[in-house]
Symmetry: C2
Subunit: 613 residues, 2 copies
Amino acid sequence: MPNFLPLATTPLETPLLRAIRDIHTRFTPLHDGEVASYIPELGKADPDHFGIAVATTDGHVYEAGDTAVPFTIQSVSKAIVYALALDMLGSEKVEAAIGVEPSGEAFNSIRLKADNRPFNAMVNAGAICCSGLLAEAAGDEAFELIRTTLSRFAGRELEVDDAVFQSERQTGDRNRAIAYLLRTYGGVRGDVDHILDTYFRQCSVLVTARDLAVMGASFANHGVNPVTGEMVASNYAVARTLAVMISSGMYDFAGEWIYRVGVPAKSGVGGGILAALPSQLGLGIFSPRLDAHGNSVRGLRTCSALSDAFDLHMLSRRDDVRTCIAADYDFRTVPSKPGRQPHEQSILEQRSGSIRVLELAGKLSFATMDYVTRRLTDPAGVPAFLILNLHRVSTITDAGLRLFTGLIRNQLPASTTTVIAGVEGNSPVAPQVKAMKEEGVRVRIFPTYDAAVDWAEDQIVYRHGGFSQIGIEADLSGQALLAGLSPQELADLSRLGTRVVFDAGTRIIDANEPPARVYFLVRGMVSVRSMHDVRLSTLIPGMAFGELALIDQPRSADVWADTEAVCLEISAEQFRAFQETHARAADRIMRNLAILLAGRVRMATARIDMLTG
Amino acid sequence: MPNFLPLATTPLETPLLRAIRDIHTRFTPLHDGEVASYIPELGKADPDHFGIAVATTDGHVYEAGDTAVPFTIQSVSKAIVYALALDMLGSEKVEAAIGVEPSGEAFNSIRLKADNRPFNAMVNAGAICCSGLLAEAAGDEAFELIRTTLSRFAGRELEVDDAVFQSERQTGDRNRAIAYLLRTYGGVRGDVDHILDTYFRQCSVLVTARDLAVMGASFANHGVNPVTGEMVASNYAVARTLAVMISSGMYDFAGEWIYRVGVPAKSGVGGGILAALPSQLGLGIFSPRLDAHGNSVRGLRTCSALSDAFDLHMLSRRDDVRTCIAADYDFRTVPSKPGRQPHEQSILEQRSGSIRVLELAGKLSFATMDYVTRRLTDPAGVPAFLILNLHRVSTITDAGLRLFTGLIRNQLPASTTTVIAGVEGNSPVAPQVKAMKEEGVRVRIFPTYDAAVDWAEDQIVYRHGGFSQIGIEADLSGQALLAGLSPQELADLSRLGTRVVFDAGTRIIDANEPPARVYFLVRGMVSVRSMHDVRLSTLIPGMAFGELALIDQPRSADVWADTEAVCLEISAEQFRAFQETHARAADRIMRNLAILLAGRVRMATARIDMLTG
């Protein structure tokens, strides 16, 4: 038992599953309410059935109780058929025919708005009008279109309960009256029987609590069914349908629903409730006993209990915008990275305010990104190089992206170069950053923070003549690795080595090869790059590389010639020979090497402190 | 010009400010609608006034146009007075007296619900009832209480426009009728004139668009005025008031409002609109021309335009729960940290699956935390030590914390030790983690990832007898720093040094002191700790510390004796003396030191790669 494995092999119960099971147990004894009886077939439902299903936006479904028992969808269908109509017929046409105001009346009210439109698509008049629009457009195909759409929302093929359909048709005089009234005002056109058949059939589709949860999750997931991955409705249709569900989905209980629960929902007299909270979850409940409004009693209680337990109310958002900036500094307060020569260090130190770094974190939304932009309103605080490190950013919303783009395009002066760091290929925000770049936003993008800082520092050093000495030949006396050696010792070492010229673009050291040589750079510029081709540092004349060969330690990075590079190359064997004859000098070099490495350890530790701090 | 400062000195214009100014410019030419005239004083308003203010939840206020022009608050007061009543009288009493359903009628309708309660507190009947409840409870102080509350929401002292108040009183017969009707049913008690005076005065309080924005931001900020920092309403009152605003705040335009804008709002016939989006913003608009519903025409257009531009609709949430897990690994895939002895390494390698790390990121909400819990349902995947690194977590919501607690308390088996890492004192989630701990949740908390891994590894090493040799005396031959030395050289070095015994709990090395000695640990255990008292590594017999003294490099960490610790102490002078007489051995030691340091650089680089990768 090496890994302390627990003995159980059944899946562990997550807190949400536990909560759902608890709620199911708690409300099972609740026997208030009556099974719908105005359609004889509905009265046959088993009043004790009770199922709760929760589907997440990543496609997991939690279930408790009778989640596989089929029942007719009834009015829950209205939400999905409305979304279908918006997508298929266009919002203009649908919105012209059906209002979006709560009616304040029972679901089967025949009353219309003052302009003779149905109040909304969640009451019978609006739903019949909606089915009528589809029947007009699709003719005999209308119902199959609806059934297919309901099936795609559920992620499986749904069928009609023919007995219920016949029962609906036989007892549907009130709906017949509504349909004829609508035709009076042009709300529906064509054959009323065909329209009503479409509507009655749509109400008679069989679903389970699990189906309703997945349907809800398809709404919550912005129109993509998270179980099948299929796009089942447009963003627009989803957003508008949820809005109507909020104001009118729970019959004449809407205000109370918003007050107490605050999750868009639609109930049906079959005992089903579908609820959908964007980016959070879909909820499906089945329990056939209804209250006076026609809503499932246990369904309402379950929604309330879940909303209370987990603050699901749509207005319950709690974010502190300030947490989106994890750090904000320039290099006056943070030391620059290692790998710079003293004269470069001196240029960078004089201009330590030229680079400002904002480390962003979490979600860049409207509110958080606005906060970020406000940190950059003082012209004196906007540097030549602004590095925005997105490494810890998990999401950028559309609105956040709009403000981000506006920041770079309009807010920052032209003298500021914006650099985005921390966006590797697998970053969750890579697509948005790429889109921004493709839109022509003037920005430099680097996969890592280090690469971004290096690039910005190089720009500063370059602008201030720091690379002018690339072309000047450096002798060995300035080499930190050779500090303390006498002129004679330096001359002897120099004689021992070989002068080698590398063309620009040559790989001088391959990290995967065994360490065999140390190089002293005499002229030109080389860069040290990680396995992932990230430039770790830039070396100029007077600096050495490959020095771990002196102690037979493996390479950790490649070295490339950025320009033509002249080097004094000394092999490990040559150095051993030098050591034989120059013990004092060799000991000195080893000590210098230890000092250089100790400095690197310090720098790396400081960097880790900053990253984890 | 060392820092490339731009020449401008006025604040840079953020994208949101730019958008607000653009919208202001766009709608300024809009002259539709009429100034309210049913109260003669209101008719005197300048119809061209137009101000837009946006207040953020961190207390910044953006303004465009006439945001400092005073006007009477009118029905906007209803929202705040309702919140006040909920807080002062208790929700039970208020909710028993006033409904929460939209009325579907004009704001001044005299119609009541079937149970003779006003439909909601946003129509005149409900607001009069609300003021009546306050008048009943506070008597003559009622209005001053209301004025003070409005002032606290606005963050400044507000005054009454006496001319408007007199005008309201003289023309208030409809409201008088409503008040008497309410008294018939016990909806208000006591002197109707006093109640109406309170109500008319409340409507006549002078505010600016800026005031409405700050009031809105107080709602958006969960009851804390973000400008003054004062708590002005409870969470409960804020949430319930916003819910009623959503369903009934825009008079009989509610459904359309939810459909098109989706931000809780309240308008007044003075031309003001207050809107509040939780955790996002407060919005205040002033433009006196009203549409047929009594809503400011330019105000509605501004709300719509802002909502469209920045997806402010309350149902417009877009999060991918999957981004909350930045990494998920055990030590089968990631090498353990440095600083372990070979026998410890071997224990750890055999049990590399005993530690699993989840690096969490962004916001731990209901949905994301549920996703995290679902990653831990497979009993075979739940290790002895589960390290949850919260370093990149920006927020934990209440619901997220509930699931987090449930995960540790109920889901994970007792054989799993949960370790929370990355929570330093200044972490945004430190309070929640502390609260969890105080509630008795069995969890270990470490400020850094490294400290957490070290601790968990120590536990594993300890459980498998890894520290049994702490008590066994190690001779110098096993020291990596002395590898390759002859027995004679070791004996000579040993003779040179001093055997020192440190009590448990002694600080052996102070990072701030100059490096003067190297220590070879002979018996016991010591730990290397950072300036912030984070344990960087644990050393056991056979390991050295303080070795940078050999190359005169500054200390970077403290070393403490965990147990009684026996060391061979060698000063820098003694080592120099050894070097004189033992050149070969000293050279060897220097080379060993370079090798040790090269290993540390490699490890640190790998760690940085992981942190930034």
